[in-house]
């Protein structure tokens, strides 16, 4: 294969990835494509990126396509990632929801949950506040576009390196048990969580309204149009006082959606302020 055809295959696979996920690959991620896809190509007996792309064109929704998308995506995740966010959730947001929700029903959605650490961190926080949530129906839904990540999240088994990053040692002792050289999360936490394959740009996979939504480090990979599209979907699954938390450096400002910075909780957004009318959201959602 010539250097030129290699480059064009990289571009073609990046385009395939963007079509399926909405994520645009900048130069800094594009150069890694060949490296991160090496195992997938070897597993499927494909000699180079050109052959991989040809196979993806023939079967864009099969196992190879899912594996390709999974390998290119960034799965960075850790327990209690951005500790100050979880401190705010634990000390301010959850007590607020406990006081103000009309029914004893709390629904949390982790959009783009990767391998589950964020959802399980929230479950740990809720267990620390067990006195607040007694007699409540509490659920945490984690969704991710990668079926491989969801499978790992559902298994609830983590490598030693995973449980070291951000997880307090007291919580490791309380909520995990050794599983060979890995660590298995307790059934009590798994009972609070469920995980589902979902594309945040898809309008049909999830229904109902959530009280707290975390969508961190997802929108940053989208174009402004797709950011607005994703936020419009989140708005459809929100009530007016639902709180949305984005990643550091992400914002709803300039996206033309209903979410505005929350007056009560720093770093959170809600639909309390003026924004586009519902029919505009429909148009943004296409």
């Amino acid at each position: 294969m010539t250097a030129l055809s290699g480059d064009s295959s990289v571009r073609a696979i990046a385009d395939f990835f963007e079509q399926r996920t909405g994520q645009h690959l900048g130069e800094s991620r594009m150069w890694r494509i060949e490296t991160v896809l090496r195992d997938v190509m070897r597993k499927h007996g494909l000699g180079d990126l050109h052959a991989l792309h040809a196979r993806l064109q023939r079967d864009p929704y099969g196992e190879l396509a899912a594996g390709t998308i999974h390998c290119i995506m960034n799965h960075e995740s850790s327990f209690f990632r951005d500790l100050n966010v979880f401190e705010s959730i634990e000390k301010q947001i959850l007590p607020h929801l406990n006081r103000t929700l009309p029914e004893k029903l709390l629904r949390i959605w982790c959009a783009g949950c990767s391998t589950g650490q964020e959802a399980y961190s929230l479950a740990i926080v809720l267990k620390r506040q067990e006195h607040l949530w007694k007699d409540w129906r509490v659920s945490i839904l984690g969704t991710d576009i990668s079926p491989f990540s969801i499978e790992k999240a559902q298994a609830g088994v983590f490598q030693q390196m995973d449980v070291q990053r951000g997880l307090p040692i007291a919580d490791l002792l309380r909520w995990f048990e050794p599983n060979g050289d890995q660590w298995r999360i307790a059934q009590d936490l798994r009972a609070l969580t469920s995980f589902k394959v979902d594309n945040i740009l898809d309008h049909h996979a999830i229904t109902g309204k959530f009280d707290l939504i975390l969508c961190r480090n997802v929108l940053l990979y989208f174009s402004p149009e797709l950011r607005a599209h994703a936020l419009s979907r989140i708005a459809r699954l929100s009530r007016p006082d639902t709180l949305l938390i984005l990643g550091a450096g992400e914002t709803t400002i300039g996206t033309g959606t209903q979410f505005v910075p929350s007056g009560a909780f720093r770093g959170a957004y809600d639909i309390g302020g003026a924004g586009p009318a519902p029919h505009m959201l429909d148009r943004l959602a296409g």
Partner: protein, 121 residues
């Protein structure tokens, strides 16, 4: 700037830990075992101690028990950093007063997150 005392009989581990900790803007001192660490703490109490378990002369756990017994005016945060990865060791460390526990091998992100958890960063 906060001070970290790295207590480990391995020169390589001390070097790696120093490299990471200095990149996190900590001032680093070193001790090769618990006995040397105790002497250091009596002279200059660090903000945090990164503590190996198995060392000659005085183990990490013996160091922690002795430091607690002496009731010095200040007490540092204690982060065990060891190859002893069994539940029994972790429980024993926490019961002795360790604030956090790192299982070797470790990386920058792990140390950074543990230092955040104990309030050093």
């Amino acid at each position: 700037m906060k001070n970290c005392l790295v207590v480990d009989d391995s020169k390589v581990i001390r070097k790696v830990a120093r490299h990471i900790l200095e990149s996190l803007d900590l001032v680093v001192d070193e001790a090769v075992d618990g006995r040397e660490a105790l002497t250091h703490c009596e002279a200059t109490m660090p903000d945090v101690v990164l503590l190996d378990w198995n060392m000659p002369h005085m183990t990490g756990l013996e160091f922690l028990n002795e430091l607690t017994r002496r009731k010095l005016p200040q007490h540092p945060k204690i982060i065990f950093c060891t190859t002893e990865n069994g539940l029994g060791h972790i429980r024993a460390a926490v019961e002795a007063g360790a604030d956090e526990y790192v299982m070797k091998p470790f990386d920058r992100e792990t140390l950074e997150s543990k230092l955040q958890l104990v309030g050093i960063l």
